[in-house]
């Protein structure tokens, strides 16, 4: 075996490289910049890097390459779209992260200790969240463009590890936050093990770790498909865990609730894009010809996921948990895009992911605003009468909820329509029916929240709406505009997606 000198196409990899570079600088900033300057420096670096990466993504949007990193990554239209989505979502999430109110002053201090109190008083901040965010985002960018199992696994861990950490950094209810970090971590590692085990069997089946190799094996396989199926199943466990599909969803309500809300927003939105991006790529390219084997499996999971998510969400009393279950339901809807296995399905999934991600960040941004003296108020009962107290905030939240519910003239509707029609087109009618019915169930709890906010009299318990910081309002407004714009005039975005969304292999 001769050694071939590696050649990396830095232009195509630049978005990730920019972020990694910025992350490294951030780490150095932690070490060398004075405490007072750190937050603003970190924020600027992070935002700058994200924007720069976005610009870079835009510039390479028409590139296609199988060899950008020695075959480890694929740059193509979907890759660019996913990366752009992730970056946009990350940018508005960082706006939320910049609000220090959500993060503990000193992660190492014991909850309730003097040290913690002093840290809070001294205005200490865990500015490490910025490099962690950057690492996570670069992992997310890498995840959907990976083209072999190794890179996929590395990217998976790269996006997960920072999130595990960030989940535990909440300022209030720190025990719960740490608990969520623990749960997220243990279950995440558990599912990675499945992922890896599946990867091993795929490797065994195809004698290759690249997606192309697996695809070739699937197309022209000699033996039976046991290893392939084991591989697909276990790999799927890992991926389905990340997207939060039933029965691999259990972490998400707890983690969504326990994490600092900006982190929840970030991981709910961006992780979903990344995970579905990877899933779409691997199912659409490597496993496409084994469709017979996994379509039934995903169909069942999708249906169960939608129905379960919608049903359980009805019974929730906490807004973050409710949104978590709603995100589970949406994972089910998104799976229909995977099942569709056609170009329409890919386009629809990308659109849906983007629309859903933006609305999710917007929704959680609103959650960060509703507070009392002890921090965020997530108990739904205390959201009563929000529409009276702060009509704009409540209206915005209602708008996001309506988008989640898929009411026309919101982005959610276009997403749902396109994804269901793609699935229908591929003959997956049962999923469409289930999707439609569970949408009806889902509508029930979205509407319930709207009722709470608008049609119930407020309780005077000190719950109030914080005047949003400039950055938070920016992200809410941006999310709102996108949600409405994609609902009313989705044509430009849809055109862009349909121009670009073709996997190369």
């Amino acid at each position: 075996m001769e050694f071939t000198t590696p050649v990396l196409n830095y232009t195509l990899l630049s978005p990730i490289l920019i972020l990694l570079g910025a992350a490294l600088i951030s780490v150095l900033v932690e070490a060398f910049v004075s405490k007072a300057l750190r937050p603003i420096t970190q924020l600027s670096i992070t935002l700058g890097a994200l924007v720069l990466a976005l610009v870079q993504v835009w510039r390479i949007r028409n590139e296609q390459s199988l060899t950008a990193a020695m075959g480890s990554v694929i740059i193509d239209g979907p890759a660019v779209l996913m990366q752009a989505s992730i970056l946009i979502i990350s940018i508005i999430s960082v706006f939320l992260i910049a609000d220090t109110e959500h993060f503990t002053a000193l992660a190492a201090s014991l909850p309730g200790s003097d040290e913690e109190r002093q840290a809070v008083q001294s205005g200490n901040q865990v500015t490490e969240v910025y490099p962690l965010t950057l690492f996570a985002v670069s992992g997310m960018l890498l995840f959907p463009i990976s083209s072999d199992l190794i890179t996929l696994f590395v990217a998976l861990e790269m996006l997960s590890l920072p999130l595990y950490l960030m989940a535990g950094l909440s300022r209030r209810r720190r025990l719960a936050s740490q608990e969520s970090a623990l749960k997220y971590f243990l279950l995440g590692a558990f599912s990675s093990a499945f992922f890896l085990f599946g990867a091993a069997f795929l490797y065994g089946y195809s004698a290759s770790v690249t997606f192309a190799g697996i695809r070739d094996a699937v197309v022209g396989s000699g033996g039976n498909d046991v290893f392939l199926l084991i591989g697909i199943s276990f790999l799927s466990v890992g991926l389905l865990f990340k997207v939060g599909a039933v029965p691999f969803h259990a972490w998400s309500p707890d983690v969504y609730q326990g994490s600092p809300t900006p982190v929840t927003a970030f991981m709910a939105a961006a992780t979903k894009v990344a995970a579905f991006g990877a899933m779409l790529r691997i199912y659409y390219t490597s496993f496409a010809n084994a469709q017979w084997s996994w379509t039934p499996m995903l169909t069942v999971i999708a249906i169960v996921t939608m129905v379960f998510g919608s049903l359980v969400a009805i019974a929730q009393r906490d807004v973050k948990r409710m949104l978590a279950y709603s995100s589970i339901a949406h994972a089910g809807f998104l799976l229909t895009g995977v099942i569709a296995l056609n170009k329409a399905g890919l386009e629809a999934s990308i659109f849906y992911l983007f629309a859903y991600g933006i609305a999710t960040v917007g929704g959680f941004a609103i959650v960060t605003l509703v507070r009392d003296a002890a921090g965020e108020v997530t108990d739904l009962n205390r959201w009563k009468g929000l529409g009276k107290r702060s009509p704009w905030v409540a209206t915005a939240f209602a708008g996001f909820l309506l988008s989640f519910a898929g009411i026309p003239l919101t982005s959610g509707f276009i997403g749902k329509f396109s994804i269901f029609s793609a699935a229908y087109e591929s003959g997956a009618k049962s999923v469409v029916i289930a999707g439609v019915l569970s949408s009806a169930i889902a509508a029930f709890f979205y509407i319930r929240v709207i009722v709470l906010m608008f049609f119930t009299d407020p309780v005077e318990d000190g719950t109030s709406v914080e005047i949003p910081s400039a950055l938070t309002s920016l992200s809410v407004i941006f999310a709102m505009i996108v949600t409405i714009a994609l609902g009313v005039f989705p044509a430009p975005v849809l055109n862009l997606i349909s121009d670009l969304a073709t996997f190369i292999r």
């Binding site: 749960k183 279950l187 084991i230 799927s236 029965p247 259990a250 029930f444």
Partner: protein
């Protein structure tokens, strides 16, 4: 056929009156009654003008039509708002506007103390307009508009004093029972359209001869249903007694002279259908016969003067219906009886109104007595009406009723005998109860309450009574002289072969008079020879008790329709609430409940989450195991 542009004025004038009176409100209180009367009178004038025009034309050219506008036109369903005035309608037009005008005049005085007299006149005008539309419409659908229009007017007038709950209920009852009849008319129209393709009189008449008997029978029966509703015939007769809740002029006009006879008009108008549908015709006869006796029997037991008269009306219309059911021969006689009845019954009602007017609105005949002296004019006019209804020659009833009895006998076979006997029996009972009314009201000893001060009515009231009395005396003779009416109407009806006479006319008249004599005698014995109790005695025969309760008609309706209906309604309300909405709420509860149950999966223990993942993976493996 001639066209005319002036037919519409017949209807338009009273309608205009009603509209003005209703819209003007209290502003019109001062002159409202005058306008109402004027409008009615003008309509009568137009009617007379039309009659004169008609008389000047030959038989064939007499019917006049006027197309107002295209009313409903969808596909082949084309109905114009069109009017038809022919020999039949003109009779009605004159009766309606003529008697109507008289009653308007009467009401000016009768209602003078009522706060809402203007409204009363508005309703009367509305009624006149609707009734005219009923008889002038050139298709069943146009007729239907008038048909329900008079129902509305009747509803409004019966419930004129609706502040009394019982009166309000009476009006509602009348409307609803009429609606049941109206349904029949709807059916008739639908069947006609479905089978013949048109709903105009002319069109159906044209096609009737090549339409199947079955279809025509169905139409006929449905028309009969309509007639029973409007004309208070068995089995839809129950509302008429309660309808006496309305002011007496209303009873005279609507519930004696005009509206209740609409059924007779309908059957006569539909002669071309009934002639071709013997079964339907037979049913008509049967209904007429039953009602004739039914009404008469009720009449024997009523102490309320208006209700007694109402029962009599029911019975007399039974005669008409029976007559109309006797085919081509009977139509003209039915109409004749209708016209004479219009005079004498209206007169008697007005008389009753006059009595009530003088007796503080007391209606119980047992509290009358000896009024002859105090109300001589009323007594005389009423008496003339009495003689007319009894069929004493030469009063009006003699001509018209005898004709019907005669026709009944002559209808042939067993049917003829049965009908003849029934009609004779009816005549006898009529004599009995009318005599009873006369005796209880005008003769004997006074049984008034202390505060009653009987007095004769003012001229505005007795004048119409007098005019009607004249009609009661003379109309029969005039109409039957030289078969005037029969010949007048003949062009409308199919020619018929002469029937074999079962009994000579003179024999029939003799029998009828004998029956009347018996009836009068019995009544005389029972009420003139004995003291009449001021309070209705309780120890009476079962028959009397039943008759007092209108032969259990209300109890029957209540038990068979109302109670089950109410039960059904409340059952359905409960069903809706608990079963249907319950199912909906159940689904919601199910979703909520299953949400709560599934929520339990989220136990908070990371190990159980891991177990869930493990189970999931195991299931996937199991699935593979099954597939491979």
């Amino acid at each position: 056929m001639t066209t005319s542009n002036s037919l519409v004025y017949l209807i338009a004038l009273p309608l205009l009156g009603a509209t003005i009176l209703l819209l003007a409100g209290r502003r019109a209180d001062k002159w409202g009654h005058l306008l109402g009367t004027l409008m009615s009178a003008s309509s009568f004038g137009v009617g007379l003008y039309q009659l004169s025009q008609m008389l000047s034309r030959s038989n064939e050219a007499r019917p006049v039509t006027q197309k107002l506008f295209e009313w409903i036109s969808v596909g082949t369903f084309n109905v114009d708002a069109g009017l038809l005035l022919d020999q039949l309608s003109i009779c009605f037009v004159l009766l309606i506007t003529g008697v109507g005008t008289l009653i308007h005049i009467y009401s000016i005085s009768y209602m003078s103390h009522d706060h809402d007299r203007r409204r009363f006149f508005a309703y009367l005008n509305l009624f006149i307009a609707a009734m005219l539309l009923l008889v002038l419409g050139n298709s069943y659908l146009n007729l239907y508009v008038g048909w329900e229009g008079v129902g509305l007017a009747s509803y409004l007038l019966i419930g004129f004093w609706n502040q009394k709950p019982a009166y309000a209920t009476a009006s509602k009852k009348a409307f609803v029972m009429n609606r049941i009849g109206d349904m029949g008319l709807s059916f008739a129209i639908m069947i006609a359209f479905a089978t013949i393709g048109t709903v105009s009189f002319e069109g159906i008449k044209e096609h009737a001869h090549h339409t199947s008997t079955g279809a025509l029978t169905a139409i006929g029966i449905m028309l009969l249903v309509a007639a029973t509703g409007k004309s208070a015939q068995f089995p839809l007769q129950a509302w008429l007694g309660d309808a006496m809740a309305g002011p007496t002029p209303v009873s005279a006009l609507i519930h004696a002279a005009t509206m209740v006879t609409a059924g007779v008009y309908l059957i006569t108008r539909s002669n071309f259908i009934f002639d071709a549908a013997p079964t339907a015709q037979l049913l008509v006869v049967i209904v007429g016969a039953i009602t004739l006796l039914f009404g008469a029997l009720i009449g024997t037991a009523k102490d309320d003067i208006k209700k007694a008269l109402a029962a009599s009306t029911m019975s007399q219309i039974g005669y008409m219906i029976l007559g109309a059911g006797l085919g081509p021969v009977g139509y003209a006689f039915a109409i004749m009886h209708l016209l004479t009845h219009g005079f004498f019954k209206a007169g008697m009602f007005l008389g009753a109104g006059s009595v009530m007017h003088g007796m503080n609105d007391e209606v119980n005949m047992r509290k009358y007595g000896a009024l002859r002296k105090f109300m001589p004019i009323t007594f005389v006019t009423f008496g003339l009406g009495y003689l007319a209804i009894l069929g004493v020659p030469p009063f009006a009833g003699f001509y018209s009723k005898d004709m019907i009895i005669e026709t009944a006998f002559n209808s042939g076979g067993t049917k003829g005998i049965i009908l003849g006997v029934v009609t004779l029996l009816g005549a006898g009972i009529t004599a009995f109860y009318m005599t009873r009314v006369m005796i209880l009201t005008f003769t004997g000893k006074s049984r008034w309450d202390a505060e009653a001060h009987p007095h004769e009515s003012p001229i505005l009231m007795w004048l119409p009574m007098a005019i009607l009395a004249v009609g009661s005396v003379s109309s029969g003779f005039l109409l039957s002289r030289g078969d005037a009416l029969v010949n007048w109407l003949a062009p409308l009806f199919e020619h018929h072969g002469e029937h074999e006479e079962l009994l000579a006319p003179i024999v029939v008249s003799g029998l009828a008079l004998a029956m009347v004599a018996i009836g009068v005698a019995v009544a005389f014995l029972k009420y003139s020879r004995q003291e009449v109790a001021a309070v209705a005695p309780e120890n009476v025969s079962v028959f009397t008790k039943i008759a007092r309760q209108d032969l259990m008609q209300d109890s029957f309706n209540e038990a068979v329709f109302m109670r089950p209906g109410q039960l059904l309604t409340s059952a359905l309300v409960k069903t809706d609430e608990h079963v249907i909405d319950g199912a909906v709420r159940g689904v919601a509860q199910l979703a909520l409940g299953s949400g709560s149950v599934l929520r339990g999966v989220q136990s908070g223990f990371v190990r159980s989450y891991a177990a869930l993942i493990l189970i999931g993976a195991a299931l996937l493996i199991a699935a593979i195991w099954v597939v491979i």
